[in-house]
Amino acid sequence: MRLLVLLWSLGPLLWQLRTSLLRPEALLAPLLEGNPWTLANYRLVLSGDPPFWRYLGNSTLVALATTVLTLLLAVPCAYGLQQQRGLLRWGVGLGLVAAAMVPTVLLFLALLEIARRFDLANDLFALSLPYAGLSLPLAVLLLRAAFGDLPAELEDAARLEGLGLGQRLRHVLLPLMGPALASTGILVFLASWNEYAIALTWISRNDLLTLPIAIARIGGGSVFTIPYGAFAAATVMGSLPLLLLVLLAQRPIVSGLTRGAVKG
């Protein structure tokens, strides 16, 4: 049973790995004599113009910038929302849940309009603006739940000690929210690393493409003209950082996902 599950979820990925290590002739004729294994596909992809690691770097840069920006905006917002009572709290909460459900692609035309008006296209840091906006609903909901879990007496005591809001956040509340901040940050990072529709329309310069777009572009031509081995090498390299992230940060990811579900 376990094996079946693993085969189902890893099978297609392992096949990509195998494809990426085969020589082109071996791809077309499965029963080639001699040694069909090679690293040439990886060399080809890494020596492209721009080299493949550039896309990895672009995606990582956007994802990091987005994560920082999202947390900077979401922490005060979640704290403020937790202080609110009545209609505003209910309304904003409902709006956030609704926004978290909206498929990103439906927003792209309007966001492209914003990019045109403010000249934000082809700028990786500017791309993190809409990404942060897209990530905010989930981030605020997760962090508000985390603020709600802290005992109210804690902040009252800090207030009596004469600590201002900034000090209370920095020295009392946030240190206790480590796990929630971590899982929120990782989920935001993953979502912006993988985003497609906005990056597709905001970025046109070849050396600024994020990984999902670069991959889709490689595969955009006819299947017969694509060096599939090189292409598989690209997907393997694009998957490795995420594989590492998921293996290392499995616990915060799962707790973030499930808490988001329960509280949302």
Binding site: V5, L136, N194, I215, T235
Partner: protein, 295 residues
């Protein structure tokens, strides 16, 4: 400054960005859907009354895509629920290496959609892909999986299920973990079998999680875009085209922004009706159940 006002100020930056990303598009589409803004008008908006909406009502391609999107969403969400429940039940049992297993099953969900969509395209490639190689090995002949509407559709659904099943599974696993074990134990002592426990105890208590998975996944599946764009391009002959892809093509290929905005707004409305409707049905059923329980 009162605490209430101060907390509003804290929320202001985030709310502003949220408004720009989520509210502005709705307003813009609402306005743009009553403008002609295409190559014919030099890409400048010119009011054209309700012409876009009239065109939408008569646009066979829009309604075909609406039907195809709905069919895709319903089928893949249903499969994800069944498979996700199975995965959750499996992962809920104490197993050696459960953490690693959980992480590895999560991997398809964590990868960019385009990466896995292209992976599937290679698997289905005619004639070089591994699936066709296997068929030939077994004595058959190569099959154009991505040039036949039925098989293309099937594999689009399969690829979506492959990617999002772990997400649904983990969500349901969280639900399973809230069920007290002594309840299960009590039923077992009464002589209930595993299927009976599932039906009488587990499923009823899991309903909020199932509903949540349905609502969230339904909304996402109705907006399916990158998977279809990369795996099938909407083809063959538009047979897997989704509403979001149609809207995208209207904007970026036909450069008809007025009509693209109309299609997007219509998709939003469809989403609102379907997801809001499911939510309303669930709430009503939930309240009724509680009232009956109290009576």
């Amino acid at each position: 400054m009162k605490a209430r006002t101060a907390s509003l100020l804290l929320m202001a930056p985030a709310l502003l960005l949220l408004a720009a990303v989520f509210l502005y598009p709705l307003l813009l589409y609402g306005w743009l859907s009553f403008q002609a803004s295409s190559v014919l008008t030099g890409l400048e908006p010119v009011p054209n009354g309700g012409a876009n909406w009239g065109r939408l009502l008569d646009d066979a391609r829009f309604w075909t895509d609406a039907f195809q999107t709905l069919r895709f969403a319903v089928c893949s969400v249903a499969l994800e629920l069944v498979g996700g429940l199975g995965l959750a039940l499996l992962l809920h049992r104490p197993l050696r290496g459960r953490g690693t297993l959980r992480a590895l099953t999560l991997l398809p969900w964590a990868l960019p959609t385009t990466v896995m969509a292209l992976g599937w395209r290679w698997i289905l490639n005619d004639p070089h892909g591994p699936l066709n190689a296997a068929i030939r090995f077994l004595g058959g002949s190569s099959y154009g999986f991505l040039s036949t509407p039925a098989t293309t559709w099937f594999f689009v659904v399969l690829a979506d299920v492959w990617k999002t099943l772990p997400f649904v599974g983990l969500l349901l696993l969280a639900g399973l973990q809230t069920i007290p074990e002594d309840l299960e134990e009590a039923l077992r002592l009464e002589g209930a079998g595993r299927l009976q426990i599932l039906r009488r105890l587990t499923l009823p208590l899991l309903v909020p999680y199932l509903a949540l998975a349905v609502l969230f996944r339904l909304a996402q599946a109705l907006g399916v875009f990158d998977l279809i764009q990369v795996l099938s391009g909407g083809g063959p002959a538009g047979s897997t085209e989704s509403l979001a892809l149609y809207a995208y093509l209207n904007a970026m290929r036909f450069l008809d922004f007025g009509y693209a905005a109309t299609v997007m707004l219509a998709t939003f409305l469809l989403l609102l009706v379907l997801v809001g409707g499911s939510w309303w049905l669930w709430r009503r059923g939930d309240l009724q159940g509680r009232r009956e329980g109290a009576a």
